[in-house]
């Protein structure tokens, strides 16, 4: 599944190069688990990268595109005792997950996108491949597979000139429970660079 996501992402970015009025972005994100996911991994996720492509449509403040992200969360719970479905287990436990996400995105700039400071909102829907694992003792307990994914960003882009800029954003991701994996939700702070081509 993750290989398929990568191929699709690569084709998307290749298409971006052929299109007009397109933007490519790359961002780094720090993520904070919430909800049930916080029980699985309570630690801040320091690995989060997103590549995105957007293409302006008729309204210059509106753009459509795609985004490919990778997030990694890890929580070394350490030695402890906890219940299982039928019994009780004690051991040294680490929970971790890799999330590979591919979204279709739509972005609305609240101002003329050529101005210096441009606040924006972005919504994305799509899917992901996730690999939730627990290492305990000599064993690995694993649940992996595809999930629906949705994302919302609220951010500000600072344009250095007409083609170059950087942006910061607050972001929220939600991935409902599927394939034995728990629902995955997390907030994030994103910092990235963007470039426009015509």
């Amino acid at each position: 599944m993750k290989y398929l996501l990568t191929i699709i992402a690569a084709l998307t970015f290749y298409t971006a190069l052929q299109a007009q009025e397109q933007a490519a972005e790359f961002s780094y994100q720090v993520s904070f688990p919430t909800g049930n996911f916080k029980d699985f991994v309570s630690k801040t996720g320091w690995v989060g990268f997103t590549g995105a492509y957007r293409h302006r449509i008729g309204n210059p403040q509106l753009s459509l595109g795609g985004a490919f992200s990778w997030f990694y969360f890890q929580d070394k719970k350490g030695y402890g005792t906890f219940p299982t479905t039928k019994g009780t287990v004690t051991g040294n436990r680490s929970n971790y997950t890799n999330i590979y996400q591919l979204l279709a995105i739509v972005q609305y700039d609240f101002k003329n996108p050529k101005e210096h400071t441009v606040p924006y909102v972005r919504i994305g829907v799509g899917g992901d491949y996730q690999d939730q694992r627990t290492d305990i003792g000599l064993y690995i307990v694993q649940a992996d597979g595809a999930q629906f994914a949705a994302n919302a960003d609220l951010g500000v882009r600072f344009n250095k000139d007409e083609n170059h800029g950087f942006f910061i954003a607050a972001t929220y991701n939600t991935l409902p429970a599927a394939n034995g994996m728990i629902a995955t939700t997390f907030f994030g702070l994103k910092l990235g660079i963007s470039g426009w081509g015509h």
Partner: protein, 216 residues
């Protein structure tokens, strides 16, 4: 202002490259100590009333489950039996030698050898790595453009599992006894005898510590 296309192309190139790198994924560092691999699991039959247990039968030997042709290692049998007796006595139960006991406690041990092979990669240990050199040997200093050879390193390790079955002899199902409590200790059978003995003692204690319903 002239609009350049190079900048998005550069970012797109980074995106494609980074997308490929992302597929490696991340994994936590493996534990440093042998005891970090120890695991204790317990399970109870919730319909069984442990408060009515006053006596137990514990055999004088530990059952060994081995592959045909393998010899069982009895090094830790006495320790296992004495530690189980200590824990069962601490519950206030009395050891008896007849099958008329309220519960039968039957320990069994299984040991196995595991093998694993890992492909070493040069980029996992970027920088100076003992015993490694450039390949082929450089002539006159830095010699870029050559791919380092990878090595396959294999290792084997021993694992052991102690299973303690507590059965109710008064409610047999056909030829089988119903298990009312199960304790499992699994870990690496590596390290010195003193280390393994200490871990067996600690973890048998943990079996009972995490089963407070036994002490009613």
């Amino acid at each position: 202002m002239r609009i350049k296309k190079a900048y998005p192309k550069a970012i797109a190139a980074v995106l494609i490259l980074s997308s490929s790198l992302m597929l490696w994924g991340c994994y936590p560092k493996a534990p440093d100590y042998i005891e970090d691999y120890d695991l204790v699991y317990t399970q109870q039959d919730k319909t069984f009333d442990f408060s009515k247990v006053a006596t137990y039968m514990l055999p004088d030997s530990v059952e060994h489950i081995v592959n045909p042709g393998d010899k069982p290692d009895h090094t830790y049998d006495a320790l296992i039996l004495s530690e189980l007796k200590k824990q069962l006595d601490n519950l206030g139960w009395q050891r008896v030698t007849t099958s008329a006991a309220d519960v039968l406690v039957l320990p069994s041990v299984m040991a196995s050898k595991q093998g694993v092979c890992t492909a070493y990669c040069w980029y996992c240990y970027w920088g100076w790595y003992p015993g490694w050199g450039y390949y082929p040997p450089p002539v006159g200093g830095w010699n870029p453009g050559y791919w380092y050879p990878s090595d396959i390193v294999c290792a084997s390790y021993n694992t052991g599992t102690l299973t303690v079955n507590m059965s109710n002899p008064k409610q047999p199902k056909g030829q089988q006894l119903g298990v009312v409590w199960l304790g499992v200790l699994n870990g690496l059978l590596e390290g010195g005898t003193a280390n393994i003995s200490s871990r067996i003692q600690t973890n048998i204690g943990q079996m009972f510590k995490q089963s407070p319903y036994l002490n009613q």
